[in-house]
Amino acid sequence: MITIIDYNAGNIRSVLRACAEVGVSAMTSSDPGVVAKAEKIIFPGVGAAPSAMEYLKKTGLDTAIKDAFMSSVPILGICLGAQIVLESSEEGSQQCLGLVPGKTVRFKLKDKLLKIPHMGWNEVKVVKSHALLDGIKSGDEFYFVHSYYPDPADRQNIYAMTDYGGDFCCALGYKNLFAVQFHPEKSGRLGLQMLERFTRWEGNNLTTQ
């Protein structure tokens, strides 16, 4: 059973529906007690980092997520959930969860024709193999909508990149956490397959299948 963390951050129901579509059993919860004991966690999110962090702190979900991470629960972060797992974000001055060393940064685009937010379908280029990226081929595209992206301190934690006025990290992995900047729940068949793979992932970084 996957627990989708419900913290008022937008795309929770979309993720739940996507899980249902591929027969992945999932539930949503905003209860820190439930989250801390979850078998597997999806940490979704759309919206702004400051209000998300404020909400997580207020509800105690921040500690619950950290506890789950420390006890090796497999966690999949999506979009904002891939940003606030780092130590800080250029979106606001608050501390973030700090599960992964690094910070979230805003696009600094030289090309004036490129727009922020980066919105639409773009290629995910796998730079390091990971169980959750199995089967993704050159040219495969996923759906993005964001103005910030995760920038892990250690380049070893970057698993996939996307080019938008230069390559940025669109998938990071660190211990039992994997997090993607794109939206698997809105990325058609390829995105749904990633959710399926997550159910089989035990939280280690070995290629499965």
């Binding site: 129901r13 979309s14 529906r17 996507a18 249902a20 579509e21 759309v46 919206g47 727009k115 937010p117 980066h118 919105m119 639409g120 379908w121 773009n122 290629e123 081929k137 040219g139 495969d140 595209e141 759906y143 909508v145 080019d163 938008y164 729940e185 809105k186 990325s187 058609g188 068949r189 390829l190 995105g191 749904l192």
Partner: protein, 259 residues
């Protein structure tokens, strides 16, 4: 680099599928969610549901409809038609629509765009514009005028000005719908699309007039559109989404091809 998008538009009336020809003579052609699902599986990059009844009584039906669609379609979709308030927009967004299209109500009270963008984000706020060709005047220097109420009411507003104003007010995307081209299948209004796409910094979806794959190519290249909206050419089975995308991809346009 972002791919260009193929957007399929489904006109919905009372939860049923309809397709308008020059905004008149609508006829039902089946269940829109099932159709949208078919397009999603066939490679459509985005779906637009346009509620052509748009009466107040229809709001709840539309919310139910969006929830049903959201459980079947795992690509972004937007909803338009009759959105008059932040509350309308928020409900549709919460029901599972990625984006909300405003049109007439924004023309009548432009602050609505900002209010919706503040509530659900610019990226989810689409300004849809129905536009017709007129003789340029002092008031309409571009020679393109905004019309509302399904294309019958001229508003005395310059379309180019309105596009830029919409962006300034917080719209994250524009739909440029040519009333002259709509339903003709004679090609998109390339000149209009290009004029607007070159004047704004947000994505432009070209709408109205698609009859052949070449038309999509034209509007995505010469017309500078970020996305091409199609309706009847896929609804009546002349082309599949896959065929259209393969054609465009074959001519060197970056499209999402593995779906």
């Amino acid at each position: 680099m972002l791919s260009k998008r193929l957007v399929v538009c489904l006109d919905v009336r009372g939860g049923k599928l309809a397709k308008s020809i020059r905004f008149a003579d609508t006829k039902d052609i089946g269940d829109p969610v099932a159709r949208a699902r078919q397009y999603y599986e066939d490679g459509a990059d985005e779906i637009v549901f346009y509620d052509i009844t748009a009466s107040r009584e229809n709001r709840d039906i539309m919310i139910e409809f969006v929830e049903k669609a959201a459980s079947q379609i795992f690509i972004p979709f937007s909803v338009g038609g009759g959105i008059r308030s932040v509350e309308d927009a928020t409900k549709l967004r919460n029901a599972g629509a990625e984006k909300v299209n405003v049109n007439t109500a924004a023309v009548l009270r432009k602050e609505l765009i900002t209010e919706i963008a503040d509530a659900i984000g610019s990226q989810s706020t689409v300004l849809s514009m129905d536009i017709r060709r007129v003789s340029p005047t002092e008031k309409i220097p571009s020679g393109y005028e905004i019309v509302v109420n399904g294309g019958i009411a001229p508003m005395g507003i310059d379309a180019l000005w309105w596009a830029k104003e919409g962006e300034r007010l917080g719209a994250g995307e524009l739909v440029v719908n040519s009333i002259d081209a709509d339903g003709t299948r004679d090609n998109y209004e390339i000149k209009l699309t290009r004029m607007i796409a070159e004047s704004v910094g947000i994505p432009v979806i070209a709408s109205g007039g698609a009859g052949k794959p070449e038309h999509l190519y034209d509007v995505l290249t010469e017309g500078r559109a970020d996305a091409a909206l199609v309706a009847s050419i896929v609804h009546y089975g002349e082309y599949t989404c896959r065929q259209l995308k393969e054609y465009l991809h074959g001519r060197g346009i970056k499209m999402r091809m593995n779906f």
